[in-house]
Amino acid sequence: MKLITTIIKPFKLDDVREALSEIGVAGMTVTEVKGFGRQKGHTELYRGAEYVVDFLPKVKIEVAIGDDLLDQCLDAIRTSANTGKVGDGKVFVTSLEEVVRIRTGETGPDAV
């Protein structure tokens, strides 16, 4: 099994969720995060003094899937999260050794 972690622009969340649902992903977990990268922050003035906003709001989605869904998943994310502008984000894939569904105790691919 794989754990796909993707960082996207917040307003793309609904699109990505729908794209993933369509290919049969049943669950996902979302976290508000702040990103630092090629996309630069901005500078504001407050009472004449500067303050720099280094970190930009991003959303992190974690999805556990069976190995078979991996390519479809990557495609779905890439297509749905893409705006073509810098800061669109990243996808990270790690290997999952085990998954357990707490309610039932099921493990492995059945649990995702």
Binding site: E44, L45, Y46, G48, A49, E50, Y51
Partner: protein
């Protein structure tokens, strides 16, 4: 005739009390303004300071301040005479015998005066916010409201030497507002800036206030209360001339705030590129402070200009103080001090009785006394109990270290 004296006495007393209640509410305005302009982690503490300082002011002024300021004052005197409490109420007989010269309750006078003391003290809390120890501040409040303020108040309103010198200050641009700003400045100088406010290379870092609706609410409440502050300072209402005067004061007070707000907003927009709300709020308050020295003599149009100049002054003043590394989170020194001085000077434009010499004498006299006396008190506090939070307490926030309570315990902060 006697019956009408009674009615007029009742009307003037009522007017005084209603105006006083409006001023009392300014304590709420300062609390909201300040808690909107500090960071979340220092909010419960600034609230505690505000509710406490109001209470301390009322108690100290009852115990000794009112006596110092108004009782037993020799005309033209500099040094106060001491005593306690607020004297006896007017009797019906003496009032009637006065033929209308005694025209309001002495109790209502204490009430109206005491809310001014609290206002002066409120100004201080904003400037020293986010890094001063709670109890050191409250001890300072005891001295300012019990001694420092009443002494200089006596000088003008009690009939002391500044009154003799021709210093003219209708509702207290100097006596209340610049007084508070001078005490604040002394405190800020001994206290130093908040950690992280100024970078090593002359850089000024913004530390945004955490809650703009609260700051705006505070500004509105202050504006609302200011009708009492200036409107009540006419002291009498019960005939056509006086009623017209009070109405003029209301109109001028209001339009000066408008002028200050619009001027500061436009200046900030031109200078900074965006319509900085906090500067607009400070602009309105600067307009109010500026007109306070004489909201009666000028026309509404002229008052709008005086207020607008106040708003134009306050924006660069805030920026300049930052350049000088005088850290004032809410802009109190600029609003109440700098705009206050402008207001005191502007009296000469409209009031033929005021002279530039008299006004300068007032500014220098009040500022010198309040600043130096405050500096002494702050210094004693600094070298005894300490006035500044430890570095760690400041980092974690004054709420935890001073009050043990978080202002917004459930809201995630980033």
């Amino acid at each position: 005739m006697e019956d009408l004296i009674q009615t007029n006495y009742a009307l003037d007393t009522f007017y005084f009390l209603v105006m006083g209640v409006l001023v009392m509410f300014m304590a709420c305005g300062f609390s909201m303004l300040e808690s909107g302009m500090v960071r979340a982690k220092n909010t419960a503490e600034i609230l505690t300071k505000n509710v406490s300082l109001y209470s301390i002011a009322c108690i100290m002024y009852l115990l000794v301040g009112y006596y110092i300021m108004y009782e037993n004052v020799d005309t033209g005197s500099i040094l106060p005479s001491f005593g306690t409490l607020i004297g006896a109420e007017n009797t019906v007989e003496s009032t009637l015998a006065s033929g209308g010269d005694t025209y309001y309750s002495k109790r209502s006078d204490y009430f109206f005066q005491v809310v001014f003391v609290a206002t002066a003290m409120s100004i201080v809390s904003g400037a020293v916010a986010e890094r001063m120890k709670l109890w050191a501040f409250l001890i300072f409040a005891v001295v300012l409201t019990g001694l420092i303020y009443p002494v200089q108040g006596m000088w003008t309103w009690g009939g002391g030497w500044l009154a003799e010198a021709g210093y003219s200050d209708f509702a207290g641009s100097g006596i209340v507002h610049m007084c508070g700003a001078a005490a604040a400045l002394a405190g800020v100088l001994l206290l130093g800036p908040r950690a992280g406010k100024y970078g090593p290379d002359g850089r000024v870092n913004a530390i945004p206030g955490c809650n703009m609706p609260l700051a705006t609410l505070g500004m509105f409440v202050l504006w609302f209360g200011w009708f009492g502050f200036n409107g009540g300072s006419e002291l009498k209402l019960s005939n056509i001339n006086e009623a017209n005067a009070v109405a003029q004061v209301f109109v001028n007070t209001n339009i000066a705030a408008c002028g200050g707000l619009v001027a500061a907003l436009i200046l900030a927009h031109i200078w900074f590129g965006k319509a900085d709300l906090t500067m607009a709020l400070n602009g309105a308050l600067a307009g109010l402070v500026a007109i306070t020295a004489d909201p009666l003599s000028g026309t509404a149009f002229w008052s709008m200009i005086i207020g607008a100049v106040g708003g134009l002054i306050v924006v660069p003043s805030i920026v300049l103080l930052d350049k000088l590394r005088i850290d004032d989170p809410v802009g109190a020194i600029s609003v109440h001090g700098v705009a206050g001085i402008w207001g005191i000077l502007a009296v000469v434009f409209n009031n033929p009785d005021a002279t530039i010499v008299g006004q300068l004498t007032g500014i220098v006299g009040i500022f010198a006394w309040v600043f130096l006396a405050s500096l002494a008190v702050w210094a004693i506090l600094k070298f005894t109990m300490g006035i500044r939070l430890s570095e760690e307490d400041e980092a974690v926030g004054a709420d935890i270290s001073e009050t043990g309570i978080e202002a917004y315990p459930e809201f995630a902060q980033n």
